[in-house]
Symmetry: C2
Subunit: 229 residues, 2 copies
DNA sequence: ACGCTTCAGACCGACCGTCGGTCGGTTGCT
DNA sequence: AGCAACCGACCGACGGTCGGTCTGAAGCGT
């Protein structure tokens, strides 16, 4: 094979990008390292020059993903004019808008995540989220407690629980979105479910019903519409 | 190899039993089919006579497990003298007692479940639980609503959320138990966490604080003690 | 009652393609 | 010269397939 030398980071990102695309298209387990290197045009040894294992590749990929998402939310967190309820809502809104903006890529990610196999992928992602975004939530909740908006015995645990609930809601929505039956009935179920989850989140925080919104109808709509077209 | 003929169910259970032991001891991924059949004393073809794939084996194994657990809880559910709060508490208590009684096997299961790899196993188990025990919770919650003990907008979703929370708590407890540092501090963390989760469950259901207990100190104690000996 | 045939299904194990991972060596840049 | 990027033949283990053998019991004619 013709030998092409590139800079460390360039080659590494090339591998990460191709791997990401393939994982989205065909799933983690079904994407062999052979496929990845064939697509990049590089030898087996080169892959293992950059990653110690297939799992290592996945770890780095997900970390990169989450880091870029956190950057979008950061401004909200550090805004001193927002109270805890505003921050909680805005953080969810921002991540929702991000998903709407990248609808196509996002749907691919969903399809990859919930392909039934790929349990490893889901597991890793939820762990990373638990380690990175839960602490952020905890900070917000602490702020809310000191502001008198929330009453809960433990901010960190509450954050983890909300994180878990959000993941769950996300799961349910994703599965409904993927089975491609955008009937009015399914849409109603979906909205009902998201309302039930919001109620739960508010109650866990000890906030008045309707304080916090984790998934607005405006965010869901574009995805439901996407199926009809 | 000497040929030994057995009845269908006998051979099948033999394979399931051996596979279970090996999965517990060495994890799902690391247990090859070759290992299983070697331990049973049977050929590759025989294995595939009973199971269509390794995944199929896992499915049937977990289903068997969950079915036996449900049998223990059933009496509680059908007891007409218990109100929803009693049922919720008793169901959790029974499953706790079961775990204490089978402490050794249970710890093996934990070790297998949370071995970091084995995400597939965890994923499957939590799905099965979601499909089998969440509906049971939902029934209890509906009863509680009509008794006036609970106020929540949707029994099914509440059940799923509680299921998810319980899983989460279970996760955290398991990981703490497995890292084998039964310090007084860890114990405190653990109790705090379980209290936070109970608070959340009560709030989701709209029940007074302290109504529902999902993990009593009496249940945790034997496992913490188990480490010192 | 008796042997004989038949047949489902329990059982076998060599074999296959694919996989993740290794390693000794080559090439190109500084 | 030295270091890092790169190569690709090779490895053992894996999940899964397949063509076929063996066995026990039911059904049969006598």
């Amino acid at each position: 094979m013709t030998r092409v030398v590139k800079e460390h980071d360039e080659r590494k990102n090339e591998l990460l990008d191709v791997a990401q695309t393939l994982f989205y298209e065909e799933g983690y387990e079904k994407t062999s390292i052979a496929k990845i290197i064939r697509a990049v045009g590089v030898a087996k040894g080169t892959f293992y020059h950059y990653f110690v294992s297939k799992t290592d590749l996945l770890d780095q990929l997900l970390e990169r993903q989450v880091r870029s998402m956190l950057k979008k939310i950061e401004p909200v967190l550090s805004d001193p004019n927002l109270d805890a309820i505003d921050k909680m809502n805005k953080a969810h809104a921002v991540s929702g808008q991000y998903k709407v903006a990248h609808k196509k890529v996002f749907m691919m990610l969903l399809r990859a995540l919930y392909a039934d196999e790929n349990a490893v992928l889901r597991d890793k992602l939820s762990k990373i989220r638990m380690n990175t975004v839960a602490p952020i939530f905890a900070k917000i909740i602490e702020q809310g407690i000191s502001e008198g908006h929330f009453t809960t015995s433990n901010a960190q645990y509450a954050a983890e629980m909300i994180m878990g609930l959000t993941n769950h809601l996300f799961d349910a929505v994703a599965r409904l979105l993927l089975q491609a039956k955008p009937t009015a009935e399914n849409k109603r179920h979906l909205l009902e479910r998201s309302q039930a989850y919001e109620q739960a989140v508010n109650r866990i925080l000890g906030a008045p019903d309707g304080s916090i919104h984790i998934m607005s109808p405006d965010m869901i709509e574009p995805f439901l519409g996407g199926f009809e077209s």
